[in-house]
């Protein structure tokens, strides 16, 4: 399997994404935003950062980058697309995911380890988890407050497209545990075709226990398993699955 991490001017989590995927044995390339093809890749990642300096709005200018036409066609064909943080913002601006990410309720940049709860596992990104599992994954953003109108929220809820919610240590999605004021504590959503996933937390920063958590690995492992790149037998899945249950 091959993965591409798109580099926009101002991306700054691209190396972390490449490292996380490479550590799992995935051949991963950087793809410059002025390139025009993502042919041959099984996974495309839009990494975190501050593309175009967040000018105008986060992701507003990046979505017009030449590579985005290819990314849209790639996604429309049902291929796996992952947007992390600024990547999530770009996906919303590009219309690949509904809603928008606005300034944090506190007006402050938040940078912390965050508990998120897995709300749905019927997707290629989280299927190795257990529904309700709590993952500890860092967040780092100033504009991560998810906003969408009531009709959109209802649709997301009905189609089980809210994949992650911010929760406290007990796994409860209470307001106090909501770091940015996201509506309904939403931390990550998926598109209707269930192949485009956007999330504010940074799983690529939680792939090594020495860095405080390796809960993010299960997302990449789920992707790999759904692409048949790693074995789904008990031995392969067990260590990660048990970690996610703690």
């Amino acid at each position: 399997m091959k993965a591409a991490v798109i580099r926009f001017p101002g991306s700054n989590c691209d190396q972390d994404c490449v490292l996380a995927l490479s550590e799992l044995g995935v051949k991963t390339d950087y793809v410059w935003h002025k390139d025009t093809s993502v042919a041959g890749y099984d996974l495309v990642v839009l990494p975190g950062g501050f593309s175009y300096g967040d000018y105008l709005r986060c992701g507003a200018i990046a979505r017009f980058s030449p590579i985005m036409k290819a990314v849209k066609e790639y996604a429309a064909a049902g291929n796996l697309l992952l947007g992390i943080c600024n990547g999530f913002q770009i996906l919303c601006e590009a219309g690949l995911l509904p809603g928008a990410l606005i300034r944090n309720r506190s007006l402050h940049f938040v940078c912390q380890h965050q508990n998120v709860r897995v709300e749905d596992i019927s997707n290629p990104f989280l299927h190795l988890c257990r529904t309700g599992a709590r993952l500890r994954i860092p967040i780092a953003h100033g504009e991560g407050s998810y906003s969408a109108d009531a009709a959109t929220l209802l649709q997301l809820e009905r189609q089980n497209r809210i994949l992650l919610r911010y929760v406290n240590n007990n796994g409860a999605a209470i307001d106090l545990a909501n770091p940015n004021g996201s509506v309904e504590s939403i931390a990550g959503i998926i598109n209707e075709g269930r192949n485009v996933f956007g999330l504010m937390p940074h799983p690529e920063r939680a792939c090594d226990r020495r860095l405080g958590s390796d809960d993010g690995r299960i997302i990449f492992e789920s992707i790999l398993a759904s692409l048949g790149a790693i074995s789904l037998d008990e031995d392969a899945a067990a260590p990660t699955t048990s970690r996610s249950l703690t």
């Binding site: 105008l56 809603g99 606005i102 007006l107 906003s147 004021g181």
Partner: protein
């Protein structure tokens, strides 16, 4: 020739900056201000070859995000 574009968060969208600004105004001693909304003002210099429809298109697709913002376009002759 100039066009002025005002972009404001929709009434239905949380505007924490507006709330903070209103509170600061109150703190400043002007309780008469009931609400504030913070947006953007964008001034465009034009050579005159554009149509108003093109300007609206750029307002809708780039300068504002219709999911969270409304815009107002004023073209000055």
């Amino acid at each position: 020739m100039k066009a002025k574009v005002i972009v404001l968060p929709k009434q239905s969208v949380l505007d924490p900056q507006g709330v903070a600004v209103r509170d600061a105004i109150h703190h400043h001693g002007l309780p008469a201000v009931k609400a504030a909304r913070v947006g953007k003002f964008i001034e465009l210099e034009l050579d005159g070859s554009q149509t108003e429809a093109q300007l609206h298109e750029v307002c809708r697709d780039l300068l504002s995000n219709p999911v969270i913002e409304d815009y107002k376009l004023v073209v000055e002759g």
